[in-house]
């Protein structure tokens, strides 16, 4: 329980960021950022372009290391040497560009870098990957012709569905979503939002970056606002409104 910093609920937060500071050379990207994320909670990270949202995601996913500050997972301090080490601790990222290999089948993307093999020769177990992937996409209601379909033949929404399904399959603690619906139409966006909301039931913690405040208010339990690398504040969605968030993002009405 040593990891509890300033949380309302009793167990350790899944992710606890304390006084994270990140500078590239002399340029400060993130200044003194602190946030707790609990299991089954969706927190949205909002802010203008260049506010530091992506940098923060990269810090949590192990791509960048913070200049100073502390990251705790389930109360234990962690330090990621690279993205693989964050992944091995149960953190998955859905990237803006989805990071899918377009000419490979869905199931190979689902198991990209973690392919299943079978004894005695350690050859790929395509049948099992195909089967497990089919189960997974059916479970998450991602409607694709088959787990054997090639990514290139799928729509943007289907691809996004697969990227999210992959993240949720491998994540045991935390899913980071970077603009998950930026390239999607209305119906596809609704579908993806449904998927994201369903992740709460899996007891994962979710950090989502979005430019759509409507989406943020539909999905998030709490909203964290960044402006020019500074943490402006965190609000519970139920206790705030768009006007307040907008003024926090822009800094115009000085409400922050």
């Amino acid at each position: 329980m040593a990891g509890s910093i300033s949380s309302v609920s009793s167990p350790d937060p899944v992710l606890a960021l304390a006084n994270i500071h990140k500078a590239f050379g002399g340029i400060v990207a993130i200044e003194d950022f602190s946030l707790d994320l609990h299991a089954g909670e969706i927190v949205a990270l909002v802010g203008d372009n260049g506010a530091g949202k992506s940098t923060l995601v990269k810090i949590v996913s192990g791509v960048h290391r913070p200049t100073s500050g502390e990251i705790r997972l389930d109360g234990d301090p962690v330090s990621f040497s690279d993205a693989s080490s964050a992944r091995s601790l149960g953190i998955e990222v859905v990237y803006q560009d989805l990071a899918l290999a377009d000419q490979q089948p869905v199931y190979m993307n689902m198991f990209l870098g973690r392919e299943l093999i079978k004894p005695p020769f350690g050859l790929l177990d395509r049948k099992r990957m195909h089967r497990e992937c089919q189960q997974l996409v059916d479970e998450l209601d991602v409607r694709i012709p088959s787990a054997g379909s090639v990514i290139r033949d799928l729509s943007g929404g289907q691809r996004q569905g697969i990227a999210i399904a992959r993240a949720t399959h491998w994540a045991s603690k935390l899913v980071l979503l970077d603009e998950p619906t930026a390239a999607l139409g209305v119906a596809e966006t609704a579908k993806v939002e449904e998927q994201v909301a369903s992740l709460k039931e899996k007891n994962l913690a979710i950090l989502i970056i979005s430019h759509s405040l409507d989406q943020v208010f539909r999905l998030a339990d709490r909203i964290c606002v960044l402006r020019r690398g500074q943490q402006i504040g965190v609000r519970e969605t139920a206790k705030t409104d768009k006007n307040e968030i907008v003024s926090m993002i822009t800094g115009v009405s000085g409400k922050s």
């Binding site: 693989s84 990071a99 290999a101 000419q103 490979q104 392919e115 093999i117 790929l124």
Partner: protein, 317 residues
């Protein structure tokens, strides 16, 4: 049911092109050149024997192209490897010669690979340079002289020998294609090669060691070219700087016709075998038809054009 469905789906345009093209050209030659002995088992075996080195190189190139890289230097590697093996065998046991030949190939491949994977130089330019570099080294190694290979065991294993009355070059082809196909289709390495060529960033964030894959495929390419050099030296019972000189275009054509994408992420070892046999068949048939070398070059060039057109049409879809 589902497996036959997915089999149908896998038989896409590029893959069927090679089967249909192979069959069409085979039937064409079989009909028109029947009297010239095209269909005799001796002639058909000859085609396989002549294409064995190209097939071996094609396997390496499928891996390189699938990972989004290219190797232009393998033709020069063939000569350097064959000469290294021949020279070493003049004063050392056969095994040392074989190791020298394969080792030279692997080393040059690894050199290409290090420059490409870790210095991030484009493989096209790196291997264009090493192609010239090692063509020159092959010439200077023995002052343009040809080196005889007199070791009977060596020429048996890599050239004219037989096992259970199957020519050794046929066995090498079958062996290399089988292993290559399994590694390509059914191992993590094969999957990572395809992922790297398809979307290197996706591969990277998925924990695949992309530089290691790039180094791996180019080293493999060099090693396969080294093996091809041994096969040439075994069959011709001599090594010369000209070995492999004219293989660059043939092998690239074989691989592309066989359904391997020029820009990575997709390929086929079986297709490369058929492509290589197709090129051999073309050579053979065109010679039987009485075409001279220049006509053969023209026909081969046209075939490559068509193959590239089909390949690029499919990938820009």
């Amino acid at each position: 049911m589902t497996s036959s469905l997915s089999l149908l789906r896998r038989l896409d345009l590029q893959r069927s092109v090679i089967y249909v093209g192979f069959l069409a050209i085979f039937l064409f030659f079989a009909a028109t050149l029947y009297d010239d002995g095209f269909l005799t088992s001796r002639n058909l075996t000859n085609i396989v024997l002549q294409t064995a080195p190209a097939t071996i190189m094609a396997i390496g190139l499928v891996f390189a192209l699938s990972a989004g890289e290219i190797d232009l230097s393998f033709g020069s590697v063939v000569a350097v490897s064959a000469l290294s093996a021949a020279v070493v065998m003049q004063s050392f046991p056969m095994v040392v010669g074989i190791l020298a030949g394969l080792g030279a190939g692997a080393l040059i491949g690894a050199m290409n690979g290090i420059l490409v994977a870790y210095l991030r130089l484009p493989s096209f330019l790196v291997t264009l340079a090493t192609m010239g570099l090692f063509a020159g080294i092959a010439r200077s190694m023995t002052d343009l002289r040809s080196i005889p290979v007199l070791n009977d065991t060596f020429t048996g294993i890599f050239g004219s020998g037989k096992l259970f009355s199957i020519p050794s070059l046929v066995l090498w082809t079958i062996f290399a294609v089988a292993i290559g196909h399994i590694v390509y289709r059914s191992t993590r390495f094969g999957a990572h090669v395809l992922a790297t060529g398809d979307n290197a960033r996706a591969a990277q964030v998925s924990g695949i060691k992309v530089p290691r894959i790039r180094l791996g495929v180019l080293t493999l390419c060099g090693t396969m070219a080294g093996l091809a050099g041994l096969l040439y030296a075994g069959r011709l019972q001599a090594a010369k700087y000209t070995l492999g000189e004219s293989d660059l275009m043939t092998v690239i054509a074989a691989v592309i016709v066989g359904g391997t994408a020029l820009n990575g992420g997709k390929g086929s070892i079986i297709g490369a075998l058929l492509g290589s046999l197709l090129m051999g068949m073309l050579n053979n048939g065109l010679i039987l038809m009485g075409l001279d070398v220049s006509d053969q070059m023209i026909v081969r060039g046209l075939i490559i054009l068509i193959a590239v057109a089909v390949s690029l049409r499919d990938t820009s879809r």
